[in-house]
Structures are given as structure tokens and as C-alpha cells.
Amino acid sequence: MMKQKIKLGLLFLLIIVCNVQAQRTTALRINEVLVINEDNFVDDYGKRFPWVEIYNSSPGTVNIAGCFLTDDINNPKKYMVPKGDVLTRIRPRQHALFWADNIPTRGTFHLNFELNPKKPNFIALFDSDGTSLIDSVTVPAGQRADISYGLIEDGWNQERLNEALRLNENYKNKYGDQLWIYWEKVTPSSNNKILDTNEKIENFKINDGVGIGMTMTAMGVVFAGLIILYLIFKSIGNIAVSLSHQRVMKASGVTKEQARNITDQSGDVYAAIAIAIYEATELHDEENTILTIKNTARNYSPWNSKIYTLREIPKR
């Protein structure tokens, strides 16, 4: 029985660990790609090469080490991101940049393939098992120099874009309805969309400058929350009172009405009853507390017995 429990516990732990791992690496996204780098970002060696930006869309740090980057769907294990490099840990909502220079000897972030500006470039990121596809993109042919091809918002997928289009009518007019777009403002290792203003705040300033909308909505939510809580606890209270009546009826054999009279008493009535019972049963009679040195009437008392005042001889 105990062994079974341990096995179940371990299985549960394994499921959690696997799930957490899977959740973490699946949060990685291919975020931005620059195929023709003429006058753009340079690597640590001062050279310009195409680059691929990976984004960690999760709120926790993700280690990309052990994952695979490839430009060939039939060879998913083409470039394994080396393990043991602290720089492969991508912080929450941060980026890592890989150079497609086909010179992997230059370090962890230099891939063993290049991007070809004359034809479409397929890029894929596979999980550490080499079979689970995390993300992929095909960068169309005919890229222009120093203009990147990137996601409309960091880490977004089609589902997230559809949601934004559904919720905000102006989104399409402002930013379009394509998930991947061309960025003239290239942003290696940084967010694709750089915000000059806080859109939420701007919307409030335009649409609810006085604050009435916010007041009505927020107070509505506060009242709604507490009304629901009230209704739930009103019901729970009714059930509790009803159960209490039943217990009294069962224990005392009284009618429902009598039970109600007994249980509906407030806490202070019970406190008064408890004090009365305590006084009636627990308190001692009033005693004479006068100290005296008079001899007791009895001839013998443990208080004046010499035998009790003598130390006993230890027994062997």
C-alpha cells in the first residue's frame, strides 16, 4: 500500500516536472529575422551576418540549451544550442539573438547554417527531444537590406492576433492584420513594437477623461463581487441555521418552533447562560480568608504534625 502511494506520488511529480519543462520551452518564439544585414547590428567579432531572434514569452526564465535550430525540416537536429553556457538562460519576456553565419566555432550563438537572400528561408526551433516542433517560420524570398521580418507583437501567435482584432476595432487600421510584418525599425534583442505611449492610458484619456466610466464600471464590479458573496453566504447561513435546528430537535426532542427559539439566540445570551452555569456549579462557597495563629480545635492535623516536618531517612 505504502509502495503504491510512493509510486503514485513519484508519477505525479514526474507529470508536474515534465509539464513544467514542456510549458517553459514551448514559451519560446522565433520573433524577428534579418536576412540581409548590410548596415545593421554587428556581432561580437565586429561582423555583420543575418540573425534570428528568439523571444521568451513566459513570465519565467527559460533555458534554450539543448533545443535545436534548423533551416531544414528533414534535419531537425541541425544545430543544438550548447549546454553549459549561462547566456542560454533567457529571462522572462527577453530575447536571444543567433547569428546565421555558418561559423559555429565562434560561440554558442553562431549557427551552422546561413540564410539565403535569394529564396524563402525556413527556420524552425525544436525542443530538446529533437522531434517536438516549438515554432517555425518561412521568411519569404526577396527580403530588402536592413529591414527585418518579425512578429507584429513579441511572442504573439495567430490566435492572439485574432483576439486583438476581435477586441479592438482600431487594431487592424493601426497595425494591420498580418502576424508577420516587415520592420523598418529593426530591433535586435529588443521588443519589436516600441511603445512611445501607454495605449491603455491614452484610451482612458480620450474616452473617459472625466473618470465616470471607470467609476461606474469599477463600482459595478465591486458591488457585483460582494453581492454574489452575500448571496452565497446568505444561503450557507440559512443551511447552517437549518442544520442547527435539526440537531437541536434530534437531541432535545422539541418542535421546530422551539428549536428555532433555542438556536436563534445571540452569542451574548449564550455567554450569560455560560456564566450563570459556571457560577452555579464551579465556584466555591465563600470562604473565610482570615489568617490566624490560633490552635486548631482538632488534636491532630497534618499542619501541626511533627512527623510531616521531619525529613525521611532514605531507604536502602
Binding site: N198, I201, A218, V222, F223, A224, G225, L226, S266
Partner: protein, 384 residues
């Protein structure tokens, strides 16, 4: 002679490092504010647990010094005070305070008469009244939201929200919130007397029924699920509040509950108070915005108290005669636990020495804590 001039130079350099050489009028003003807080706490016993740490913190924060990279000030990265201040700026002190509040709060009064929750909701008008006023005098919506939360009369919530929405105003907002919480005995009674008739002040409320342990255990569980499903952004505060309460009511985690409501909350209160006080360095704090925030803070407390009392009067129109609520407990809808409930009791006793309102006032009082945390969650969700 060289030796004398050497000593003289050193003394002159030393002088430039002293507070006397660096003091400004702003520092003097802030030191006076700190001393006033300490005086109010000791002589008048206004919220001494808060005002002593904050007041002394103000003194610590306003000792002027030469900026020579010695890592002394609270705004210098890596200084001891700065490290302690991280709990405020990162927002993890307030949830720990809420854990302690949950572990020391008895929700029985609220559970036995759940309609009192509505008063806690109504008093949140103080938050949004101040929000509207802050917008009107030119604050940005996120700043207005952070200022409005002063009306929730809940220090940890005010710090938590302002650290997220308007970190640059946090010092003024926190000091304003705690100051007015301490001044609740001064602010609320005149409003209570003004808005109620003699007849209303002597309304006797039904004594609360006895609440079973099962109900007490269910309250934090349902409370968490419901409020956080509705406003997930309130999770850090509400999650810890209800968790602390479950520790108390479960009956099997007494040691944890005692730690949460004892040593833990005391430690965090000390750190929070001192660092919030120290964050009021004159150079950062003495601005027109701070003065405006103080004005708005006072108005938010007045609006919250008024809304609570008027709501009870309105509510009474729909209640049977023997179920009516004494409007003197309307003020306790603003959190400020348990001070505002105590005010209800004190003012109530003035008009009927046998009418004890404390237990009844505790209901809206703790509902106010939940309400202000929910309101903070909404503001964070909308403006964060």
C-alpha cells in the same frame, strides 16, 4: 604648521560631509513632519504602530548627507535602506501584511449578517471620487488611480497599487494614506453627526447569530475563489488575506496563524513603516504633487465616509423595521481596521450608552478591506 593645516583641511572636508553643511529648508520641514507623527503617536495614541515607524523613518530619510557614493540613502542602489525598500517597490510587503491581517481578522460579524458587505462596497466610492477629482486637476489616469486608492483607507493596498501604477508618487500616497488612517477619529465623527438624525443614531441592531466553524472555514475559500475569479489582479492581496484567514479558522494550523498575525506582521510592519517614512526624502517628496495628493487624500476619506453612511440610510428604506441598520456603522465601510469600527462604537455610545455597535461595525469594516483590494485589482487591471 603643516600639521595644523593638514588637520584644518581634514576638518573642513569632514564638515562638508556632516548634515549641518547639507541641510536645506525642505529637510527641516520634513523632520518637523516626522516629529509631528511621533508626537501624535505617543501623546494622542493615533495609530502608534504605524506612525512611530513612519515618523522615525521620516527622520532617517531626511538626515541630509553629501552625495559621495557612500550608499547611504534609500534611493542609492545597493544601500541597506534601498535593499529594505525593495519590499515596498517590488510590492511584496503589502501581501505579507495582508496575510497577517487575514490571520487576525474574525469575519463572524460579516458571515452572520452578510448584507453588511454592501456597506463595504459603497464606501469604495471614496476611491473613485478621488480618482475623478485627481483627473480633474490634471493627473494622468494611472496616477489618478494610485491616488484614488487612498480612499480605500488601507495602507498596504495603497502602497501595492501605487508601486505598480505610479511609483514616483508612492511616498506621498503612502504617507497620505497612513496619515488619514491615523486621523480617522478626527475626520469621521463630524461627518457621521452631520449626516444622521438623533433617531437614527440610536437604532438598535439585532445581535449577530452564532456562526459555526464550518461557515468560518468556507468564507476564505469562497471569498478567494469568487473575488479572484472576478478580479485576478487582486490576487496578491486577496489571496494572502484569505489564506491567512484560513490558517486562523481551520483550527489545525494554529502555529502558522500565530506566526502570521504575530512576529511576521510585526516584522513587516516595522520594515514597511520605516522604509516608507525614509522614502520621503525632502528632495524627492516636497513637490506640488505631494501637496495635491494630501488634499485629494482628505477628500477621498470624506467621500468614502459620506458614501458609507448615505448608503446605509438608503438601504434602510428597503429593510423591515426590526432589521434596520444603524447608519453610524456606515463610516466603517472604509477599511482602516479596526479604527473606523471603533469610531462607530464611540459615537454610538454618546447617544445611547447601552447600544454597542462595535461587533456590527466590524462587518462592513472587514468588507471594506475586501472591497478596497477588489477595487485595487480593478484599477490595476484597467490602468496597469
Amino acid at each position: 604648521m603643516d600639521f595644523i593645516s593638514f588637520l584644518g583641511d581634514n576638518l573642513a572636508t569632514f564638515w562638508t560631509y556632516t548634515a549641518f553643511a547639507n541641510i536645506t529648508l525642505g529637510h527641516v520641514l520634513m523632520i518637523l513632519v516626522g516629529l509631528t507623527f511621533i508626537y501624535l503617536a505617543i501623546a494622542k495614541e493615533f495609530e502608534p504602530m504605524l506612525l512611530i515607524p513612519i515618523g522615525f523613518g521620516i527622520l532617517i530619510g531626511n538626515i541630509p548627507f553629501k552625495d559621495a557614493g557612500l550608499q547611504l540613502g534609500i534611493y542609492e542602489e545597493g544601500s541597506v535602506l534601498n535593499i529594505l525598500y525593495q519590499g515596498v517597490t517590488s510590492g511584496w510587503y503589502p501581501p505579507l501584511i495582508f496575510l497577517g491581517i487575514g490571520a487576525m481578522t474574525d469575519f463572524s460579524a460579516l458571515i452572520s449578517n452578510p448584507k453588511l458587505m454592501m456597506i463595504g462596497a459603497a464606501a469604495q466610492f471614496g476611491i473613485f471620487g478621488a480618482y475623478v477629482l485627481a483627473l480633474a486637476i490634471g493627473f494622468e489616469p494611472n496616477q489618478a488611480g494610485a491616488i484614488g486608492i487612498i480612499g480605500g483607507a488601507d495602507g498596504p493596498t495603497a502602497i501595492f497599487l501605487s508601486s505598480k501604477l505610479a511609483p514616483n508618487l508612492m511616498g506621498a500616497i503612502a504617507i497620505s494614506a497612513y496619515s488619514y488612517m491615523a486621523l480617522v477619529p478626527v475626520i469621521q465623527p463630524p461627518i457621521m453627526r452631520l449626516l444622521t438624525s438623533k433617531k437614527e443614531r440610536v437604532i438598535r441592531m439585532k445581535p449577530p447569530r452564532v456562526v459555526s466553524q464550518t461557515e468560518k472555514i468556507l468564507f476564505p475559500i469562497f471569498g478567494l475563489l469568487l473575488t479572484c475569479f472576478l478580479v485576478p489582479s487582486g490576487l496578491p492581496l486577496l489571496g494572502m488575506l484569505f489564506f491567512g484567514n484560513l490558517l486562523k479558522e481551520s483550527g489545525v494550523t494554529r502555529r502558522l496563524a500565530e506566526t502570521a498575525r504575530g512576529p511576521l506582521i510585526d516584522t513587516i510592519t516595522i520594515l514597511l513603516g520605516v522604509t516608507v517614512g525614509a522614502s520621503t526624502q525632502a528632495t524627492q517628496f516636497l513637490t506640488w504633487d505631494s501637496i495635491k495628493i494630501f488634499g485629494l487624500g482628505a477628500l477621498s476619506f470624506i467621500i468614502a465616509t459620506t458614501a458609507g453612511i448615505l448608503f446605509v440610510k438608503l438601504f434602510n428604506l428597503f429593510l423591515k423595521k426590526d432589521n434596520r441598520i444603524n447608519p453610524l456603522i456606515g463610516n466603517s465601510g472604509v477599511s482602516a481596521v479596526p479604527d473606523s469600527a471603533r469610531i462607530s462604537q464611540v459615537v454610538g455610545l454618546e447617544y445611547d450608552p447601552t447600544n454597542y455597535l462595535l461587533m456590527h461595525a466590524m462587518g462592513p469594516n472587514v468588507a471594506g478591506v475586501i472591497g478596497s483590494a477588489v477595487a485595487a485589482g480593478i484599477l490595476l487591471g484597467f490602468l496597469g
